[in-house]
Each structure stands twice: as structure tokens, then as C-alpha cells.
């Protein structure tokens, strides 16, 4: 065969299907997958998405180099193609191939032993955000039917913008990405979109061509700074000081949009100067409400703050001042406004003082502040902030800057955070007892009835608030549990979290004391599971990879959690580090080998489909096949063992003999394609997708634009209308319609008068230095996501490995390299009081002295001795995030909860001498 023929053969195909990759990258890129026989030849970006609004660029082509090289991984060396059982020690690397029958029987027996001996809550599943909805739904379904524990995915991966939640009562509120184009000022702050947001990056360039100014605020001169108009180098972990200083300038120079702040935020609300608490109705009226607040009307004095609307309806709230107020007991106290207190605080952040804190010149701070105040500004935030110990303070400060300058709910404004959209059919599915529209209507009517009952109790609540209440109710009876309790009791984190020297110095008591206090007060009632007395025995990792991901490191889990486990079951398509330490590996089919959809996101407002372009390789199966077969096997073995029923942790009787049938609803849902079809049809029926949508329309078009946000909480938090012909700007309902925020005060809330926040002096945003996590060492790791892989998903992809050094790197400054006697390409050892790892040094002038960058995603097995970068991360959690039952500070699945920090870890570095 000639070279020409060989080349042409490379690009031959006989079938084209749609595909997307369902990795946790917050993108939903439709690809054309070209198949020849049973082999995927190649894929290319679809580029078929219609323009939405006149004059606004379309989303096309959507995609990145990881997606464009996905097919290579179908045949990569790390694929798992057969069920495998460990032989010898865990992690010893010895496996035997077994049949599916053997594998499922072994897993079923381990689960039944556990249920029989210790209870079903000793069976723990890690929730996942990888793999698409049809990878996640099956094991969540099995866990739900069993009453087992599922560890909340966001508590594991920490994509939880806590500061946004504290401020807005929600955090998943991103506009569609084309809204970026309408910005006049884009702040790339704690984000590096040139690396991590490749499909959407063109909107930044297009906005710039349209006249927008693009600013990169980061400690290092990152890839996004290169194409920005302005680079603002900030000292790591001091972004709150920078933001607050900009707020100070905005207020002191009279640049604030005070009308916006008066209507949207809590700045006009009254606070008692004697207690530091909001003035509440119960303070001044006998039998008054705890969640009813006041403002000072310039015409009439004290006045109830409207609860049903943000509109002031004739009120002129005073923003500054002090007034006497008579309490219900006849005594008099002084009150002031949140803005008055805020301005006192901001005095600590005049630019010259802030320059000392954050390293940004005072003149630059002033310039930036004036730019923000004078333009439609959007903060392009990534998921870096949530991973700082004090990331909440940074975000609260950024949100304050936007709130003072009228920069949300209007075109081209806001802050990008998480971007979950609603797919009603997905949420309805676990409740369905039969297939079809009649059942859907029954469920939707039941939900509507429940919502109306709740509305009767609180007629001023919005749909969004009632959706949250509904979610809270379901959480208290569901399987999802914040991992903080599991990690504390069972995974060896208790000792770490009690190390005062690694915590914030304003933390007055031990972590133990705070945690037990929070539990004793019932702030985590029903979800602080499994408890201390319930030892885990079976752990399922389905497409998750805790030994790579867990802050705290592989060593901590292997030495604390693993010994307690009778069975570690990994369901994956590749040999991850966790798989290497499993007892059983069940091979799953990859995208292109099975039907799937990516989780829906508001960035694109599209549901994207991945078809089965080829049969699954080897003996791999879809998760629906695996878990429906496991449910069936559990039923069969339960009957054989005469273990027909048991009582779960919530005292509900479960019937094992029916489990197999219940899983597939008597055969109604025999395959994932039927399941997906039901989700899509139900979503169309509920109004979230176009009428007539089905798997077939997805199969034809590859991707469908949503027509609504759905009826469930995740979608509603965007609070914006979905139009087929317009860009969606988050918070439109708050700004245009005056709908209140789902916070305690029903306004964007910058003042948190919870006693723990007051004790920590965090009742208002402020700057705090990152605690010395890892010890008192001279260098600080900031980390970040890489360009070459979404987490570890593409770390085994040969073409992509060829686009970088193909091995873990420690990126460091030239000055530190000289000081540590390190040269480019040297192997270095990074050490602190928690652990150590080794990697190659990359010496560059773009990193500031004192800073190290270790890009996320490398598997521990790519490091010497399998000691990955997370070995130096203690995984500290901030104690204040244990607060619960304070208005919006309460647990909702995927929401408010303590999450571990991994940025700003202190280390030292030394060159590894060549052997």
C-alpha cells in the first residue's frame, strides 16, 4: 500500500454519529464521530449550532484538543477490558481475569454480608461528575433503592463557590457564555480560560474586538494574561484585599451605583450596634419573626424591608447613619446600616494599605476600580477560588465589587461560577414507578401540590426558594451525605483538621469542638452520615478517582480508609490510580461505545448527545448494564441466602428480592437508551426541552437547546428567562423583575450575623492571609488546571502527552530556581510537614518568586513511588462552613458544605540528586 493510500485510508469512514465526551469540563461540545467498521477513525467538531441572537457570535465550533483526540483513548494501553480481581496485596499490580458472573456475585455477596452484619450505610458510593448522566444515574439508583450512602460529589471535587453561596444563596448562576461578548470589561480572575475554557475562549477575543477591555488578575503571567489588555499580578491568596480596596475606591470616589445596591443588596438593612446582629422583627415586636428585617426610610424612619420583592416601592432607604430604635421590651438600642459598617471596614483597605497586602500598586487599584464602576463588567471566575481556604472571603469581596457597581443581571455582567442547568426528566426519573406521560403528570402534579403547600406557609417565597425547600426535604430522606463527616470519622482527616497551626488563627476552638457543636445543634440533621459508629466496608468508585483527587493524599486514604474496607469496587474504563488499589475492577464502556448525555449546563444551554458509534471494546459494559445486573444478582443471592429484607438507616424496610425488578421498573427501563428517551420526553413534557424531543431528535441533531430552566432548584438558580432568540444573563429575574434572592435576608447578603462568623470577624467580607497549611515553609503552591487534560481523563492519551512534557511538572520562578540550585529539567522534591512528592522542574520567568504551580490531573502513578502532588495537601476545611440552619447556610445536595482546600499550600523544594 502506498503512503498516499495509507493516508487516505486513515480518513475513510462508513458511518457518522454524534459524540460528546461527558467529562467534567463544563462544556457540551457536539462532535461528529466517523467510524469505519467497528473502529472510530476520527472525530471532528460539529459546528452546527445555530446563532441565537442578532449580532452575537454563535457557539461554534465548540471543542478542544482533548475532545478531538478522544478516539485515541478507546484503544489506549490503560483501557480495562475485562472484569479483574486482585491477586495478592492491594496495589500489588497482580490481577486475574474473571467472568462478569463471578465479579457480580462477589460484589453482591460483599454487599449482602455488609447489610446483614453492619447495615446498609456501611456501603458507600462516591458520587461522580464524570462520565455523563447515564454513568451516574445507575449507581445512584442502586444506592437509592438500597438506602446506602453516596458521598456528595461537590464535597469531593470542591467546585463549590462558597462565597457566592454566602452572598446570593446560590452558586450555580452562570449566564450563557455568549453573554461574555456583551461585556465592556472582562476580569479573568482566578481563572485561566486560555487553558481551561478552550471552547468558549473565542467570546473573550470577540468581545475584545468589539471594544471590551480584558484584564488578567493572577499571581503568574498565565496563558490568558498573554492576550489581555492588562495584567494585574496579585500576591497569591490576597485577592480579597484587592477587591475590597477597589470597593473602597468606588465608595470613596462616589462611583457606586447606590440605587442598585439599595434594591439588590443588604447594604441598607439595619444592624444593632450593641449585638452586631441584624435588627429583627422579634426584637421590636412581641412574637415577631426571626427572618424579618428592617431599613431606615428617609421619610418615615424605621420600615419593614420588603420580603416579596427587591423593589423599594416608594421607599428611600438611608444607606448611612445611626438611629435609636425602641425594642419590644421598651429599651432603646442604636442601629446602623450594613453599608455604614462596611465603610468602617473598608477603611482598612485604602489602596496604599491594600498595596502592602496584595502587592498591586495603589494606582493600579484605583484605575481598575474606576474601570469597573464605569463599565458593564463580568468576572470570569473559575473554580480556583473555592479551593482556597479563604476563597469564600475572596468571592464575597468580588461579589461586593459587582454589587456596588450595578454589575449583575444586566447584559455582559455578573460572575461566572458553576453553571448547572435543569433536566427535569433526570430529576423525575428516580421517582417513576412506571414509564410514560401519565406517571410524569402524576409526579409533576404531586410536586406542584407540595410547592403550593409550602407557598401557603410562606406566600412571599419565590419559586426558586420553594424549589430549594423541596430539595432540602428530599436531601433529608435521600442518600447524599456531605463527605466531611465521612472523612472526619473514617478517612483519617480528624487529626489533620485539628492541627491549629494549619488552620486560621482566628479559629478560637478546636475543629473537634466546632464539628461536635454543629452536629449537636442539628445543623446537619439527617445528613451527617455515616456516623462514627458505622464503619465503611464496601466502597464503590464509579468513574471517580479518590486516590488521585483526594486532598490529603493517597497515603492518608490508604492508611486510614482502605484497611476498613472489605471490598473496593472500581467501575472505570481505564486503570486509574484508584483502580490499581481496588479489589475488583469492572470495565465500563467509553463514550463513542455507548449512549450518553453530558450533564446540562447554562454556559451553552444545550443538551448534547453521545451515540454508540462502535460496540464496547472487550467485555466492557455500560453502567446501566452493570448496575441493573448487579441489582438482579443481589436479588438472586438474597433469595439464596434468605436475606429478603432489612431496615435501612432511616428505618425504612427494604426488599432485596424485588431489587432487580425495581431497578428496571419491571422491565420498563431495560436499557440506557430507553432511560434516556424517558428523560428527554419527560423534560420536553415539562417544558425544559422543545416539544417532541426524544433520543431520536438528539440522535439526528446531536445537541438540543433548552427551552426553559426546569422546575427544580439547580436550573432555577440562574434566575433568568430562556429565550430562543436571546442570550441569557443570570439574575435577570432579580434585577428586572425584582424577585428576591434565596438568602436569609432575601437580598444579596454581605453581612452574615451568625455568631460563628461574628466571632471570626467574617460577618463582613475581609482579607485573611492563607493559613500555613503544610507548615511554615517559604514556597507556596497555587496549582491550577492544565491545558492538556481535564483532570486525569486524558493523562494517558499519547498524542496529548506529546503536546507537553508528558510527565508531572513543578513550574517555578527563575529566582527560586537559583536559590534552590535547580535547573530546568532537574528532578525536584517538594516537601512539607504533611508529605512529599517528586517531579521535573520547569523554570520560567512567568511565575512569581515564592510561587510554585503544579498542574492538576497527573495520576500519582506518574510520580516516583506513586506519591502524587496531593501528598503535600493537608486538605483543610474551613470551620465556618459547618454552620447550618442559618437561612441559606444549610445543606442542599451539591451545595453548601465544608470542602477541602488545596491551593496555597506551603512547601520547600530541593533538587533530587542524580543517582
Amino acid at each position: 500500500m502506498s503512503t498516499e493510500d495509507r493516508y487516505q485510508r486513515r480518513w475513510c469512514w462508513d458511518r457518522v454519529t454524534w459524540g460528546t465526551h461527558c467529562v467534567n469540563c463544563l462544556a457540551t461540545c457536539p462532535y461528529r464521530v466517523f467510524t469505519l467498521g467497528d473502529t472510530v477513525a476520527f472525530e471532528e467538531q460539529g459546528g452546527t449550532i445555530e446563532a441565537v441572537a442578532e449580532g452575537v457570535p454563535d457557539l461554534n465550533p465548540l471543542g478542544c484538543q482533548k475532545g478531538s483526540a478522544w478516539s485515541v483513548q478507546l484503544t489506549s494501553e490503560d483501557r480495562v477490558l475485562h472484569p479483574l480481581r486482585r491477586v495478592g496485596e492491594r496495589g500489588g499490580g497482580q490481577w486475574e481475569q474473571i467472568t462478569w458472573e463471578e465479579a457480580l456475585t462477589e460484589v453482591a455477596d460483599a454487599m449482602l454480608d455488609t447489610i446483614d452484619e453492619d447495615g446498609v450505610e456501611s456501603i458507600v458510593f462516591e458520587e461522580s461528575v464524570e462520565g455523563g448522566l447515564l454513568s451516574q444515574a445507575p449507581f445512584l439508583r442502586l444506592a437509592g433503592l438500597l438506602g446506602a450512602i453516596t458521598l456528595d460529589a461537590n464535597g469531593l471535587v470542591n467546585d463549590l463557590p462558597t462565597g457566592q453561596h454566602i452572598t446570593f444563596g446560590k452558586f450555580s448562576c452562570a449566564s450563557t457564555v455568549d453573554d461574555t461578548f456583551r461585556s465592556e470589561l472582562l476580569l479573568q480572575w482566578h481563572s485561566n480560560p486560555a487553558y481551561t475554557s478552550i471552547p468558549y475562549h473565542h467570546f473573550i477575543s470577540e468581545a475584545r474586538y468589539r471594544g471590551a477591555t480584558v484584564v488578567a488578575i493572577a499571581p503568574d503571567y498565565n496563558a490568558s494574561a498573554v492576550s489581555s489588555d492588562m495584567f494585574v499580578p496579585v500576591r497569591p491568596g490576597t485577592d480579597a484585599a484587592l477587591a475590597l480596596s477597589m470597593c473602597e475606591v468606588v465608595l470613596s470616589e462616589g462611583l457606586a451605583d447606590l440605587e442598585f445596591a439599595s434594591t439588590q443588596t443588604d447594604l441598607p438593612l439595619l444592624v444593632r450596634t450593641d449585638t452586631g446582629r441584624f435588627l429583627r422583627e422579634r426584637d421590636i415586636r412581641s412574637g415577631g419573626a426571626e427572618d424579618h428585617f428592617f431599613l431606615w426610610d428617609e421619610g418615615n424612619g424605621i420600615h419593614d424591608a420588603p420580603r416579596a420583592t427587591l423593589r423599594l416601592e416608594g421607599l428611600k432607604p438611608a444607606l448611612r447613619g445611626r438611629w435609636p430604635v425602641q425594642l419590644a421590651d421598651g429599651s432603646t438600642v442604636e442601629v446602623t446600616t450594613v453599608l455604614s459598617l462596611l465603610e468602617e471596614r473598608l477603611a482598612d483597605y485604602v489602596p496604599e494599605r491594600a498595596e502592602e497586602l496584595c502587592g498591586v500598586a495603589a494606582s493600579t487599584i484605583r484605575t481598575l476600580a474606576r474601570m469597573v464602576a464605569g463599565h458593564r463588567c463580568k468576572i470570569l471566575e473559575g473554580f480556583n477560588t473555592p479551593k482556597y481556604y479563604h476563597g469564600d472571603l475572596m468571592e464575597r469581596s468580588m461579589c461586593l465589587l459587582l454589587g456596588l457597581t450595578g454589575n449583575w443581571g444586566r447584559p455582559g455582567t455578573g460572575i461566572q461560577g458553576l453553571a448547572l442547568a435543569g433536566l427535569d426528566g433526570y430529576f423525575l426519573f428516580p421517582m417513576k414507578t412506571k414509564k410514560g406521560v401519565e406517571e410524569t403528570a402524576r409526579l409533576l402534579e404531586g410536586i406542584e401540590q407540595a410547592v403550593e403547600t409550602m407557598r401557603a406557609r410562606d406566600p412571599e417565597a419565590t419559586d426558586e426558594m420553594l424549589g430549594n425547600q423541596l430539595l432540602a426535604l428530599s436531601a433529608s430522606s435521600g442518600t447524599s451525605a456531605p463527605p466531611v463527616f465521612f472523612n472526619y470519622h473514617h478517612a483519617g482527616y480528624r487529626e489533620t483538621w485539628n492541627r491549629a497551626e494549619w488552620s486560621d488563627p482566628t479559629m478560637k476552638r478546636t475543629f473537634d469542638a466546632y464539628l461536635s457543636d454543629a452536629v449537636r445543634r442539628g445543623w446537619w440533621g439527617g445528613v451527617a452520615r455515616p456516623g462514627a459508629a458505622t464503619e465503611p466496608r464496601v466502597l464503590f468508585s464509579v468513574g471517580t478517582n479518590p486516590l488521585r483527587r483526594a486532598r490529603g493524599g493517597r497515603a492518608k486514604l490508604l492508611s486510614n480508609l482502605w484497611p476498613k474496607l472489605d471490598k473496593v469496587v472500581v467501575v472505570d474504563f481505564r486503570m486509574s490510580t484508584t483502580a490499581l488499589h481496588a479489589d475488583l475492577i469492572l470495565p465500563s464502556a467509553m463514550q463513542y461505545e455507548r449512549v450518553n448525555v453530558q450533564y446540562p449546563i447554562t454556559h451553552t444551554l444545550r443538551l448534547s448527545f453521545s451515540d454508540a458509534a462502535t460496540p464496547p471494546r472487550g467485555e466492557s459494559r455500560t453502567e446501566w448494564q452493570i448496575f441493573s445486573a448487579l441489582a438482579k444478582r443481589l436479588s438472586e443471592r438474597a433469595v439464596e441466602r434468605d436475606l429478603l429484607e432489612y431496615v435501612d438507616g432511616r428505618r425504612q424496610t427494604r426488599h432485596l428480592d424485588r431489587l432487580g425488578d425495581d431497578f428496571v421498573v419491571g422491565g420498563d427501563f431495560a436499557s440506557e437508551e430507553v432511560v434516556l428517551d424517558e428523560w428527554v420526553r419527560d423534560s420536553a413534557d415539562a417544558g425544559t426541552l422543545p416539544v417532541g424531543s426524544s433520543v431520536e431528535t438528539l440522535r439526528r441533531d446531536g445537541s438540543i437547546r433548552f427551552t426553559g430552566l426546569g422546575i427544580f432548584a439547580p436550573g432555577l438558580s440562574v434566575a433568568a428567562d430562556v429565550s430562543p432568540t436571546d442570550v441569557m444573563t443570570a439574575f435577570g429575574w432579580h434585577v428586572d423583575k425584582g424577585l428576591p434572592f434565596p438568602t436569609l435576608t432575601r437580598r444579596a447578603q454581605f453581612y452574615i450575623d451568625h455568631p460563628w462568623f461574628v466571632e471570626a470577624d467574617e460577618h463582613l467580607p475581609r482579607h485573611k492571609e492563607p493559613p500555613r497549611m503544610g507548615g511554615d515553609w517559604p514556597l507556596l503552591i497555587t496549582s491550577g488546571h492544565s491545558r492538556w487534560s481535564v483532570h486525569s481523563m486524558s493523562m494517558g492519551n499519547r498524542p496529548l502527552l506529546g503536546t507537553h512534557r508528558g510527565r508531572p511538572l513543578v513550574v517555578m520562578s527563575e529566582q527560586d530556581a537559583v536559590e534552590c540550585a535547580v535547573r530546568e529539567g532537574d528532578q525536584v522534591r517538594v516537601v512539607n510537614d504533611h508529605g512529599a512528592f517528586e517531579a521535573m522542574a520547569r523554570v520560567t520567568p512567568r511565575v512569581r518568586p515564592g510561587q510554585l504551580i503544579v498542574y492538576n490531573g497527573f495520576e500519582p502513578h506518574m510520580f516516583p513511588r506513586w506519591e502524587g502532588a496531593n501528598e503535600v495537601e493537608p486538605g483543610m476545611v474551613k470551620w465556618l462552613h459547618l454552620v447550618g440552619k442559618y437561612g441559606h447556610l444549610r445543606y442542599l445536595p451539591f451545595g453548601w458544605q465544608p470542602v477541602p482546600a488545596d491551593r496555597a499550600v506551603f512547601v520547600r523544594l530541593e533538587r533530587v540528586e542524580a543517582v
Binding site: E438, A441, R681, V691, G692, E696
Partner: protein
């Protein structure tokens, strides 16, 4: 009182609500689909006799009496020289192997078209009768519309009523009206006899009017 009568579909999952309802605008639409579905089934002796006795026009007139929009039923005269064999032969001449969506649109894979339709029917609690018609047969598709309209009339749930209406509009747009007008045009070009000329005209007119009506109901 009115109830549905399905020929190509069967109930797989019984719906809530009564099996008989007072006749009204919606049951009239259901009834018209019932008559048209039966009319376009492959003709047998009974079909021929009904034509000869003027029962098709009578049934359609009765069915359409409460329709919310006008449908001119007109006259149907079976020529005296038509015998049962030539009657059946005319159907074969006009429609070949039958009135099928897949054949009309020239689908590469009829099984694929049928599988999509089966899934559609299943979502509404129906299954294709395995021993009778194909899922994409005109009669089966009319059966489906007949059933949806009946359930719309029978349900006490506003939400479900809206669901059935939306489903009807969607099915008309994506299925019946995506191929029946072409089928009607093709058959008309072949110079059908008076019976099928009558039927084709009524079918085409009714489907278009029904879509307008359902759309107005939803948008209103």
C-alpha cells in the same frame, strides 16, 4: 358517550381516567381519526360494502358533527361497475404495499422509522399490535391521534390535557403532516377512483385543519 377503538395499537399501560366520555369537540376529533384510520386500512369485503352502502360518509358525518372546525364530508358514490376485486386493486394501485410513512419518505431503514414510532407510542402507554399493522402505517398513526384526543377529553388533569395536546401537535407536525400530503398528492396524480378521491381529500383537509386547531388551542 364515546370511546376509542384501536385497530393497530393496543393498550400496554392503562391510563387513569374513564374509558367513556360525553361526546364533545375533542371526542369528535378522536372519532374522525377513528373513521379515517379505518378507511385507509387495506380494503376487504366489509370495506367495499360500507362504501356501497354510503356508510363511510354517514360515519364521517356523525363523527364530525361536533368538530370545532368545519369539515365538508361531501358525497361518496361507488360506481356500479366496481367489484370487490377491482376495489382492492385500486388501493394497491394507489398505495402499493400500503400507506406507510417509511415508504413515503423513502427511509433507508423502515425498522428504524418503526422503532422511533413504537417508542413514541410507548411513552403514551400504547404498543403496536404485533399481529396487525406496522407502526408507521397510516391507520396506526391515525389510531395514535385518536387515542391522544380521547385521553385529552378523558383526563381530569390540566397538566395531562396540555401534555396530550402538545403531543398531538408534535405528532401531526413531525409525522402525519410530514408525509401524508405527499402521499395524497402522489395518489391524486394517479387519478384515484371516486372512493379514494373522496377519502384522500378528506384526510388531507382534516389533518391540516386539526393542526391549526390544536395549535390555536395551545397558543391560546
Amino acid at each position: 358517550m364515546f370511546t376509542y377503538s384501536l385497530a393497530g395499537l393496543e393498550i400496554k399501560s392503562a391510563a387513569d381516567g374513564p374509558e367513556e366520555v360525553e361526546e364533545n369537540e375533542t371526542t369528535a376529533r378522536s372519532a374522525v381519526y377513528q373513521v379515517l384510520g379505518a378507511f385507509f386500512s387495506a380494503p376487504d369485503r366489509d370495506h367495499f360494502d360500507r362504501a356501497g352502502q354510503g356508510l363511510w360518509t354517514k360515519e364521517l358525518t356523525e363523527a364530525a358533527s361536533l368538530l370545532p372546525f368545519p369539515l365538508e364530508v361531501g358525497e361518496l358514490t361507488l360506481a356500479s361497475d366496481v367489484d370487490p376485486e377491482s376495489y382492492s386493486a385500486e388501493y394497491a394501485r394507489l398505495f402499493g404495499a400500503g400507506c406507510s410513512e417509511a415508504l413515503q419518505i423513502g427511509a433507508e431503514d423502515r425498522d428504524d422509522v418503526e422503532a422511533k414510532l413504537r417508542r413514541e407510542y410507548e411513552y403514551f402507554g400504547l404498543a403496536v399490535s404485533t399481529d396487525r399493522r406496522a407502526a408507521d402505517d397510516l391507520c396506526t398513526e391515525c389510531d395514535f391521534m385518536q387515542y391522544l384526543a380521547f385521553r385529552e377529553a378523558a383526563t381530569g388533569s390540566d397538566r395531562l390535557r396540555a401534555s396530550y395536546r402538545k403531543a398531538q401537535r408534535d405528532f401531526l407536525e413531525r409525522h402525519l403532516l410530514s408525509w401524508v400530503p405527499d402521499m395524497v398528492a402522489a395518489a391524486t396524480a394517479l387519478g384515484p377512483n371516486a372512493v379514494y378521491s373522496w377519502g384522500l381529500d378528506r384526510l388531507d383537509t382534516f389533518l391540516r385543519s386539526d393542526l391549526d386547531y390544536v395549535t390555536a388551542q395551545l397558543d391560546g
